[in-house]
Assembly symmetry: C2
Homo-oligomer: 155 residues x 2
């Protein structure tokens, strides 16, 4: 399995950044997983939300080619951790075609990125900050790999 | 509104502990919120899960009296953040009767604590580590108070 994770911009909260590294290291002990923090639109007022999302989408698009794309989206499909593990295992991936997760910035993802996705996933009915959701996704990828490999993971 | 949060044992992960403080401080700027880390069962093998949960339940019970109790439980009710804010706002609370959230330890909550609860809440269909779920709950309480007060909260 080859996993890639894309999101616009670096994580600003230091503690969340540390947790990000913590889970990325653990995931990489099991499967190759690369995090790419793509470009954000700088110096544009939040009033121009569409323009910001456009700019972010353009840089995201440079990074995924023909990958199998899973976008985090609040109206996406909800699964429990076992269903998510089964789903992940069922996706054919290769060194040429990664499974790529895309997480939106603080404004969410532009329409055309959502349309391009092979799957839309929701981690919760609740809304979480776009930095906290990064950790939730990483923890869930880690957990699902542990489930796939039949290993015990302390709750 | 008076909020109390109970869970057995201190948070071991330093970054999660920092985030916990971060959200607790912000919540306390809006409503009184107290975190009580109750006793854990020490030196007992995980084979004796029921005994561990019994010991943890006994100490949890010392702390909630006639409070309105919301237990986090994977088969509990799911809500989106706005529904959660509306729900929280609808609970009558006073200095004598707090709204008390209870989060289980790594084995979950003992049956009698769940039976005593006034509401069972699930943050996600997915399973998260019992330390990560602490942050998710705090972030959601913070977000719901911002919603109740009609304030903007950066996504």
């Amino acid at each position: 399995m080859r996993i890639r994770i894309l999101w616009p911009g670096k994580t600003h909260n230091r503690d969340i950044e540390n947790l990000q590294q913590f889970y990325l290291e653990r995931i990489n002990q099991m499967e190759k997983c690369e995090l790419i923090q793509t470009k954000t639109a700088k110096g544009i007022s939040e009033k121009f939300a569409q323009r910001i999302m456009d700019i972010e989408a353009a840089d995201l698009e440079k990074h995924f080619k023909n990958d199998y794309i899973i976008c985090l989206f609040d109206e996406g499909k909800e699964m429990n951790s076992f269903e998510f593990a089964r789903f992940l295992k069922s996706i054919p991936s290769s060194s040429a075609r990664a499974i790529t997760f895309i997480v939106g910035g603080f404004l969410g993802l532009e329409e055309r990125i959502l349309k391009r996705a092979d799957a839309l996933l929701s981690l919760s009915q609740m809304t979480f900050s776009h930095e906290l959701i990064r950790i939730m996704l990483l923890e869930q990828i880690y957990r699902s790999l542990m489930i796939i490999q039949g290993r015990q993971y302390v709750k």
